[in-house]
Symmetry: C2
Subunit: 187 residues, 2 copies
C-alpha cells in the first residue's frame, strides 16, 4: 500500500536528533530533542511527545506539465545514505491566500515568486516531500509540513534555498513558520 | 467558528428522507432511509448508521477570478425554505486524474468539460456545497461529496445538470459515483 499519511512526533525518541529549532514567524512550538516519523494511520497519541504534527501527501496543486516532468526527472528519493541532514518546516498561510482563486495563487507562487524554478535549482542535492495538513481536520496548526533531506556539504545551499523563498511575494502570505533542523543519528 | 467538516450519516434518522439512491458507476453503498448531517468534529460513530461519509469544505482548486466572481454573485445559500429537495452525490476519480498536473486537470474540467460554465447556468436555482474527502485520511471511499438543494419545480433542471456533467470528458475519470436524492421531511 502506498502510504500517504505521516505523523511527525517531536520528543525524546526517533532516529533524527533535533540540531536546532527556530520560529521564523508566528507562534512557536515546544522544544523537542528528537523526531520520530510514523507512517500510516497507526500513530497512537504519545504522552511523552512534545508535539505531533500530521500531514498527508496529495496531488500537485500548482505545477504544470513541463515543471512536473523536470521535477520527476531530477528529484531524488528520501533515505539516501549520504543525506544525514534534514529539515522539517511547518508553515501556515493566511486567510487572504486561501481566498484567492486558483489562477491568482498560481501567479503569486510561480510567475511572481518562482517557487518551482527556485526549487529546481537545488535538485538533486535536496530531496523533498510535501505533506498537506489543512484539510485533515478543521483545526490543524499548520497548512503544510515540508520534509527535506540533504548531505552536510549541501547545508549552505539549503540555507540559500529557504532564504530565497522567504524573500518571495508568496511568503508575504505565510503567517506561521517553524524551521527545525535535524541530523540522522540513531540513538 | 466557521465549520468546514461535515458527517453525512445514512440510516434511520435525520430530517432528510431518502427518496432514491442510484449507483451511477462503481461499488454501491448500503441502502438508507434517512440522512442526518452532523457539522464539526463532534460526530461519534453511530452503530445504527448504514454509512457515514465525511467531507471538508476547502479552497477553490480550479476557478479563476472571473468565474469565482460570477459564482459568488449568483450562488444561493443552503437552507432556503422552498428548497425541500436535495441530492448528495459522492464521487471518486481515478489515479489517472490525480496524477495529471494542475494545468491539465483544469483543461479537462473547464476548457473541455465546461464544469463551471454548466453549473453557472443552474444558478440561483440550485444551491451547492462541495466537500473534499481525499485528504482527510489515506483510505476514504470517495474523493468528493457534493450537496445540492433546490425547489421541487427545479428537479428536472437539476437532472439536466447532472446529465450534462456525466456526459463530459471530466467524467471519464470518475470511477465511483452514487446519486442520492432526498426530501426535507422532519420525522
Amino acid at each position: 500500500m502506498n502510504l500517504r499519511l505521516f505523523a511527525f512526533v517531536g520528543g525524546n525518541a526517533g532516529m533524527w536528533r533535533v540540531a536546532r529549532m527556530k520560529t521564523v514567524v508566528g507562534e512557536p512550538i515546544p522544544e523537542a530533542k528528537r523526531l520520530n516519523i510514523v507512517p500510516g494511520e497507526g500513530f497512537q497519541n504519545d504522552r511523552q511527545a512534545s508535539w505531533v504534527l500530521r500531514g498527508i501527501t496529495s496531488n500537485d496543486r500548482y505545477v504544470v506539465r513541463d515543471e512536473k516532468e523536470q521535477l520527476v526527472a531530477r528529484q531524488p528519493g528520501l533515505g539516501r545514505p549520504e543525506a544525514v541532514c534534514a529539515a522539517l518546516i511547518p508553515i501556515r498561510k493566511n486567510a487572504a491566500w486561501w481566498s484567492l482563486p486558483q489562477d491568482e495563487r498560481r501567479k503569486v507562487l510561480e510567475e511572481q515568486s518562482k517557487h518551482v524554478a527556485i526549487g529546481l535549482q537545488y535538485l538533486p542535492a535536496v530531496a523533498r516531500r510535501l505533506h498537506h495538513c489543512r484539510d485533515l481536520s478543521e483545526n490543524e496548526p499548520f497548512d503544510f509540513l515540508t520534509w527535506f533531506e540533504y548531505a552536510p556539504a549541501n547545508e549552505s545551499a539549503f540555507d540559500r534555498l529557504v532564504t530565497e523563498l522567504r524573500a518571495s511575494e508568496e511568503w508575504k502570505y505565510v503567517d506561521r513558520e517553524i524551521d527545525i533542523r535535524l541530523v540522522r543519528e540513531p540513538a
